[in-house]
């Protein structure tokens, strides 16, 4: 308990950010209970004091964030959008980690030609704007949840592979690895039990720090109509739909963007602290 208090006192901003992220996770889990309306329910006009009004309706006690041009409740759409964002963020980043860690491990452990080939492939990926690559993938496979995850995986793995490779290189020639080799430990055992385990720290950091990026890619793809298919509410596609209404219905794009921005902001704040804590040499420089 005292540790928690100490942390809150020394890192107040990070504590708030963590709390907000917790709220986001809860929103994602309990979306159906938090949403005030059916996110797909359409209502293009309504009667107010005997006067007929047409959607989009401005924010009110009934529609907290207003509605879109079809009268769909934006608050509920944002809640479901947050859920989709977080799901895509975790799955897509997880897939990038899976591919990146595997290739980085192989590259660092075996070295030589294998290493060279894998690293040249990462060079190719680095020479190319990631969002374009993701767009190409969704053009080939069609839009949808899994395509988007696949696209983000292809974009995210090279960084991870390089990071893991450099970590493996620093561990590979340690005495305990040589000792296990001498004792006749199998390659797969050494790679998984000894080398991978020593990379666990950076893997966890890379995973969590990569989630906001993955969320941003999903939103960006959906913004351009290349992400999730329309009936599924995605923050990016709601923002894009609201583009035509920035004069008459500014709330339309404002709230989904705010939800996205706050999430990414909190992730970045927590990520900064994580780097500070895990890399103390950095701490003395930065603050």
């Amino acid at each position: 308990m005292t540790d928690v208090k100490k942390f809150i006192k020394s890192e107040p901003t990070t504590s708030v950010a963590l709390l907000v992220l917790l709220v986001y996770v809860l929103i994602a889990i309990f979306a159906p209970y938090i949403a005030t309306h059916d996110p797909m329910a359409v209502k293009t006009s309504r009667q107010v004091n005997g006067e007929k009004q047409y959607a989009p309706f401005p924010p009110s006690s009934e529609h907290w964030f207003g509605t879109d041009q079809l009268g769909r409740d934006i608050f509920s759409r944002v809640v479901y959008g947050v859920r989709v964002s977080i799901i895509v963020g975790i799955i897509a980043r997880g897939l990038s980690m899976l591919l990146g860690v595997t290739l980085g491990l192989i590259s660092g452990y075996y070295g030589g030609v294998v290493d060279n080939v894998i690293m040249r492939i990462t060079d190719v990926f680095f020479s190319f704007p990631a969002i374009l690559l993701a767009m190409m993938v969704t053009m080939v496979l069609g839009s949808g949840l899994w395509t988007v995850c696949l696209a983000i995986m292809l974009v995210g793995w090279p960084d991870v592979a390089r990071l893991v490779r450099s970590q493996v290189l620093s561990v590979r020639n340690k005495e305990y690895v040589t000792a296990i080799k001498a004792l006749g430990g199998s390659t797969s055992r050494i790679m998984v039990k000894h080398i991978l385990r020593n990379c666990l720290g950076i893997i966890v950091v890379a995973f969590s720090m990569g989630i906001p990026g993955a969320v941003m890619y999903e939103a960006g793809l959906s913004f351009f109509g290349l992400g999730l298919r329309p009936p599924i509410p995605s923050l990016g596609s709601i923002i894009a739909d609201g583009r035509g209404y920035i004069i008459f219905a500014p709330w339309y794009s404002l709230f989904p963007g705010l939800a996205l921005a706050i999430f990414v902001l909190c992730c970045n704040v927590v990520g900064d602290t994580l780097v500070d804590v895990l890399d103390p040499s950095y701490r003395n420089k930065g603050r």
């Binding site: 040249r120 492939i121 060079d123 190719v124 680095f126 020479s127 190319f128 704007p129 990631a130 969002i131 374009l132 767009m135 190409m136 993938v137 053009m139 080939v140 069609g142 906001p212 941003m216 939103a219 960006g220 913004f223 351009f224 990016g236 923002i239 894009a240 609201g242 583009r243 920035i246 004069i247 500014p250 794009s253 404002l254 963007g257 996205l260 921005a261 990414v264 902001l265 992730c267 970045n268 704040v269 900064d272 420089k285 930065g286 603050r287």
Partner: protein, 308 residues
């Protein structure tokens, strides 16, 4: 030095080859009949088939790719499906507009971000430092396509000061909003990097020695601190340009800035394969070229780094 540059440039060739192969394969896999696309929906079957033979689309993919590549090294990047003009010509035009935007954004973020970074390093933990750092993390967290919309809402819909989108030849007011949107994250990143670099340098022994010798503080700031802090700052300009190209695509589309980003996006959406293939090749070459330039400038700024 020259040997180093030659090695790097030669090393870029397989990367470009690999990249163009990946792009080619993806385009090949995109559903739809290219010959039909070029001929138009009303063309009869015979016309479509003659276009297919004429364009060499009936050959297997590797033959098509080799043809593309052998033409590309001779400087012929094909003809756009949409405009029927040589792609090289079109890219020449749009690239200039993107460079215009890039130069403005990088100059702004280098000086604004650099100044703010130095100030917050010198007055660490002051209010200014906190505001600058908050501003920086905010710039890096806001989705650019959304902050672009916010600027449009504020400056165009609310204040009516600036046009929401568009482009005019030369220098015009249209550049303000796209440049502003792109500068915010870049300047934020620059401020952070500069701050860390300056804090790092100020604590070095040679700065203390210089102070102890009674050298004029301004001279210390310029000769000892600025010169050493410059290395990470210059690196950032390079990496930031490659990072920015991704955001540039979105920003150019949103503000209808007819540069490279909008060109490559339009080409992909319209399935204008020659235009897309060529522009991705040019973009990749630019990114690699910038990285080589950054590495060379290291050597110029920091005499400890040598490439021999």
């Amino acid at each position: 030095m020259w040997r180093y540059i030659r090695a790097r440039v030669l090393g870029a060739i397989p990367i470009l080859l690999g990249m163009s192969l990946i792009v080619f394969l993806f385009l090949y896999l995109i559903p739809g009949d290219t010959a039909r696309l070029v001929a138009g929906p009303s063309a009869d079957r015979a016309t479509v088939e003659s276009i297919r033979t004429e364009m060499g689309l009936d050959a297997p993919w590797y033959t098509q790719y080799l043809r593309f590549f052998s033409r590309a090294i001779r400087g012929d990047l094909g003809t756009s499906f949409q405009s029927r003009k040589p792609v090289v010509q079109e890219i020449g035009v749009v690239l200039k507009r993107t460079l215009q935007l890039t130069v403005v954004v990088q100059l702004l973020s280098f000086f604004i971000g650099g100044t703010l970074g130095i100030l917050s390093a010198l007055w660490r933990k002051s209010v200014l430092d906190k505001v600058v750092m908050a501003f920086s993390v905010l710039g890096l967290s806001l989705p650019q396509f959304w902050s672009a919309l916010l600027f449009q809402m504020f400056f165009c819909a609310r204040l009516g000061l600036l046009p929401p989108s568009g482009y005019q030849m030369g220098w015009d007011i249209y550049i303000v909003l796209p440049a502003l949107t792109l500068t915010w994250p870049s300047a934020g990143l620059m401020a952070r990097i500069t701050r860390v670099a300056v804090v790092d340098v100020v604590g070095q022994d040679y700065v203390r020695t210089a102070r102890a010798k009674g050298i004029n503080p301004l001279k210390i700031a310029v000769k000892h601190i600025a010169r050493n802090a410059l290395i990470p700052m210059v690196t950032l300009v390079g990496t930031d340009i490659s990072r920015m190209i991704g955001g540039m695509i979105m920003i150019e589309v949103i503000f209808t800035w007819p540069g490279m980003g909008k060109y490559v996006y339009d080409a992909l959406i319209a399935k204008d394969f020659p235009a897309f293939q060529a522009s991705t090749l040019v973009i990749a070459a630019l990114i690699i070229g910038i990285n080589i330039l950054v590495d060379i400038t290291y050597g110029l700024i920091d005499p400890r780094i040598s490439y021999e």
